[in-house]
Amino acid sequence: MRPLLQLAIILFICLAGEILHSVVGIPLPGNVLGMLLLFLLLCLKIVRLEHVEEVSSFFLKNLAFFFLPAGVGLLTVVDSLRGQIIAIFLICMGTTAVTIAITGHFVQLLNKLKNKKKERENLNVAILDPNRESQKCMPTTLKVNISPSTKS
């Protein structure tokens, strides 16, 4: 699809997000609602990937650039925060590192636990299945039984 039309689709979804926020009154920002809406439309296959892919990848490849003016805006509050600005900087930076470390470790740990559980379930299946067959043929199943359990 032509890029201009792709842009129109995305802008239309932005508009829908804003309407959901201010007219319908959903207490989430319009752009976050727009993101959820596009996600939903993609899942329901109403919007296809090729309808938005090129323009999206342009935005996403340059995402950091679009935040530049907001960062320059820091200039305007420096004066009003004199005395506290260094503390605010340090607090924001320190807590960000702490949050990343805690969240990352937590998700990684949960994922590992889940994968272990899955492995165990898979093992059970592997052990159970040959057992059923073992009534027909004994020797091969023994090998199958031992090899996965010794690995773990």
Binding site: L49, F65, V72
Partner: protein
């Protein structure tokens, strides 16, 4: 000259040139601390201060760029959709992780700010610093904070997250791409996500998912947690 400065062209061109210089420096040095966005911000601020140009003149063009933040945020749905399988397979660890991350962000801010002797209205303003700007402003207002300080703290957090996230992940041996993405998105919203996009599709998708979820969790929890500590 002043006619040129007082058109949107000035702010837009200055931003693009500053950002591209940042990209160039980043490529040459390969130092992750020298992130294109950070260099761009420093160069623009430096230029405005040295040449004595008013922020309002820059803002004429800057607003055009900021306008595209909305469609850019919407576009985050695309990598999320592409990683749908990963999301389905890991939804519980992801959700629990974002919840834990949001709580630790709120509590660590309050504790550190109290320790540093920050005044109360500033403290409540920086409490939602890990979530996306439009949501953070609402939470700040709800708590009786000052939106300008909230925006500043959110930007500082975002830039910090974008720069240090890969470093923290390395130091803490967080190697799972899902965990990296969730951690960065929860701690440093869309600005951190912009960095994750550069690192990998899984990281980017998980990070973009975390922006909205962390925002909702913080909006619900901050008004409950803040009074407990004050």
């Amino acid at each position: 000259m002043s006619e040129f400065i007082n058109t949107p062209l000035f702010g837009i061109l200055l931003s693009i040139i500053a950002f591209e210089i940042g990209v160039w420096i980043n490529k040459k040095t390969k130092i992750s601390l020298l992130n294109p966005m950070l260099i761009g911000i420093v160069l623009v601020i430096g230029f405005l201060v040295v040449c004595n140009v008013k922020y309002e003149s820059y803002k004429l063009g800057g607003d055009y760029i900021s306008f595209f933040l909305a469609p850019a945020t919407v576009a985050l749905a695309v990598p999320l959709y592409k990683q749908l399988d990963k999301l389905k397979a890991n939804w519980l660890p992801i959700l629990v992780g974002i919840f834990v991350g949001s709580v630790s962000s709120i509590i660590s801010v309050i504790v550190l700010a109290k320790f540093a002797g920050i005044s109360q209205n500033v403290l409540v303003s920086i409490t939602p610093k890990s979530i996306t700007i439009p949501m953070g402003i609402e939470v700040s207002r709800l708590l009786g904070g000052l939106p300008a300080i909230t925006v500043a703290s959110i930007m500082i957090t975002g830039i910090t997250g974008a720069i240090i996230s890969p470093i923290v992940c390395k130091l803490c041996r967080i190697t799972d791409p899902v965990a990296q993405g969730v951690a960065t998105g929860t701690a440093s919203h869309a600005v951190g996500t912009s960095r994750m996009m550069e690192i990998g599709e899984i990281q980017g998708a998980m990070s973009s998912l975390s922006i909205g979820v962390a925002g909702v969790i913080t909006a619900v929890l901050a008004p409950i947690l803040v009074p407990l500590f004050l």
